[in-house]
């Protein structure tokens, strides 16, 4: 009898233990618990931030020698890491955008996006981020230079009104510029002439606690204009963020070493270049659409000149590598069939 009661007590105890550990395991996997654990990592390194590998430039540029003449005394020792808040766009929200834009003739879904088609325009909204792509048929037909280009203020006012009316303006967006750089080039009278065929009003993200949030595929909202200030389309790459917690940063020297060792994006540098960094700043990185970006991390942005005097830029993540869990599944999609037998 006594043996039997020990058996039952043991069974109950093991069951309770299993239940507790199961709950605990689930809690760790849940987003909130993961974030708390990640937050603790700022001090302990016990839990790392899951990030996609940093994309590289295609030029194979690298430094054989890289020095720094930059003043790094004012660089922060730690910065806030931000968590990406999924937009989780609902069908109801999408319907409302489509209605306001008059593109609600056909509405459906295409994988990760809602899509709508109207008489003369279409709308695509990424469910995960809420980024949108509104395109009029006139956009495709806009092939000639704009005959009447308006003033910047007129474009800006029109763009802001359009975004607000459509419910597409983001509270954290701020006006950036009016871009007239989309040009058509034509040989005229034997000479090469470039004229704008489209004018854009661009909005970017407000800085995060004083630090620019504009690197990588910087967050952006763009409204495009054609002839006579008519709106041809609008598009965005946007992620909502909220603070996760403070993280200590690599030292500037560690960042410099990372770039030197090819662990960073290096722009406008040839092979085996020599360079000197003149300026180091910090900025937040936004990843391309289609990437499952979970956290917005700070990066060091280095600007300098190569030995032959050409300017270059290099970026590397500012969070120490030991705090990061690099996960290729975050930026690699389904594989396309590969040809064999060549």
């Amino acid at each position: 009898m006594k043996e039997r009661s020990w058996f039952w007590m043991g069974l109950v105890g093991m069951t309770a233990l299993a239940l507790v550990s199961g709950c605990s395991s689930r809690a760790v996997q849940a987003g909130g618990a993961h974030d708390r654990a990640a937050l603790n990592a700022a001090g302990t390194g016990a839990r790392r931030l899951r990030v996609a590998p940093m994309d590289m430039t295609g030029s194979a540029g690298n430094f054989k020698k890289l020095d720094s003449a930059a003043d790094t005394s004012r660089l922060p020792k730690e910065l806030t890491v931000y968590k990406v808040v999924p937009a989780n766009v609902t069908r109801q929200q999408f319907d409302e955008h489509a209605r306001r834009l008059g593109v609600n003739r056909e509405i459906g879904e295409n994988g990760d996006a809602f899509v709508a088609r109207g008489e003369k325009a279409s709308l695509v909204v990424d469910k995960q981020t809420g980024s949108f792509d509104f395109t009029t048929d006139e956009f495709a037909a806009q092939t000639k230079p704009i005959a009447r280009v308006l003033a910047d203020e007129q474009y800006r006012a029109s763009a802001e009104k359009f975004l607000v009316d459509a419910g597409l303006m983001e509270p954290e967006a701020e006006f950036r510029d009016v871009n007239r750089g989309n040009v058509v080039g034509v040989y005229e009278d034997g000479g090469w002439v470039e004229k704008p065929y489209m004018v854009e009003v661009r909005f970017s993200h407000k800085p995060l606690a004083g630090i620019a949030f504009d690197k990588g595929v910087g967050p952006k909202i763009i409204v495009q204009f054609g002839e006579d200030g008519r709106i041809l389309g609008a598009t965005s790459v946007w992620r909502k963020v909220e603070p996760l917690g403070k993280y200590r940063l690599k030292t500037p020297q560690q960042a410099l070493d990372a770039v030197k060792n090819g662990r960073g994006q290096i722009f406008d540098v040839g092979q085996d270049a020599q360079g000197t960094v003149d300026e180091i700043t910090t900025s937040y990185l936004n990843e391309p659409l289609g990437y499952r970006q979970l956290y917005v991390l700070p990066a060091y942005v280095m600007k300098g000149k190569t030995a032959d005097g050409k300017p270059f830029t290099a970026l590397t993540r500012a969070i120490p590598d030991e705090m990061l869990q690099v996960d290729e599944s975050l930026n690699h999609g389904p594989k396309a069939p590969v040809s064999t037998g060549k």
Binding site: P53, D55, M56, T57, G58, S59, A60, G61, N62, N110, A113, S122, V124, D133, T135, F139, A140, A141, T143, N179, G181, N182, V183, V184, G185, V186, Y187, W192, E194, R202, S204, D214, K215, G216, V217, G218, K220, G233, T235, G262, Q265, I266, F267, D268, V269, Q271, P288, L289, G290, Y291, P311, T313, E328, N331, H332, G333, K335, A336, S339, K342
Partner: protein, 269 residues
């Protein structure tokens, strides 16, 4: 009895033909008579290959970058074929070189409607990881469009560097060669976004992708196209250049001879 058997046999044949027609799908060909197809090449693995690029490291995303174009093929609303997807050591310089220079473009890069490359590029070239017959294909060895190519997407750095005189001759009938005049980041979503936002890339491809059965050479499709690379890749401190090009002689694909569209998107960097 004999005529009944014959009638029955004829009926079976007719039914089979009808079914074949009904289920064959809206297979269509563009005006060059071929079916509409995508072909891609990419190189991510350079180290250990002997390539001059080997010492400068690998890229992890080129396969995803151009592989995303498979979305065009897998979309049930379209009828594109997936002609080839050669990667790493199977991507060759010969595949892009014009036949007059001894290349095989006539049966590869120029034998599909949409061709794409992703990998290293050091300036008006594509860098390969095997030497068949060279480590790099330079832009002046291309004459896309002579056979079939309508659009080429070059997800590599500096491919369209220089003036139209430098890169224009690479398009010999192609509507569009789209690439960068500067460094660019090879992102995994380049091809996928080309498909999901087709109207942001080129209207001719949009027509062909979104409207099965539509000839890509119809007037609507003849417009020189634009691109929208700012969304799919990042350009640092410089500009993106994209053009629909013609050689000195007008081609049938362009509304205006010697016209080139350049999109300079600037940057948010």
């Amino acid at each position: 009895m004999h005529w009944r058997a014959r009638t029955f046999a004829s009926g079976v044949v007719a039914l089979a033909l009808a079914l074949a027609c009904a289920f064959a799908g809206a297979a269509y060909a563009d005006d060059d008579g071929s079916s509409v197809a995508v072909g891609v090449e990419w190189v991510g693995q350079y180290t250990g290959t002997g390539s001059p690029m080997a010492v400068y490291g690998n890229l992890s995303t080129p396969d995803d970058c151009v592989g995303g174009l498979y979305n065009i093929v897998s979309d049930p609303r379209t009828n594109w074929g997936w002609a080839f997807n050669w990667g790493n050591g199977n991507a060759w310089e010969l595949d892009w070189k014009r036949p007059s220079l001894g290349g095989n473009a006539y049966r590869l890069a120029d034998d599909v409607d949409l061709v794409a490359f992703s990998g290293h590029g050091t300036g008006n070239n594509m860098q390969f990881a095997t030497c068949r017959n060279d480590w790099a294909s330079t832009i002046n060895e291309l004459d896309l469009g002579v056979r079939d190519c309508e659009w080429a997407l070059m997800y590599t750095c500096n491919f369209l560097r220089g003036t139209p005189a430098a890169y224009g001759p690479a398009a010999n009938g192609a509507h569009l060669i789209c690439g960068y005049a500067t460094d660019m980041t090879v992102t995994g979503n380049g091809g996928a976004l080309f498909r999901t936002t087709p109207s942001r890339t080129c209207c001719a491809a949009h027509t062909a992708c979104g409207s099965p059965g539509t000839s890509t050479a119809k007037p609507r499709s003849r417009r020189p196209a634009r691109t929208w690379h700012e969304r799919s890749a990042r350009v640092a401190q410089s500009t993106t250049t994209c053009g629909a090009m013609a050689r000195s002689a007008p081609t049938q694909h362009l509304t205006a001879p010697q016209q080139l569209r350049t999109t300079r998107t600037g940057t948010l960097d």
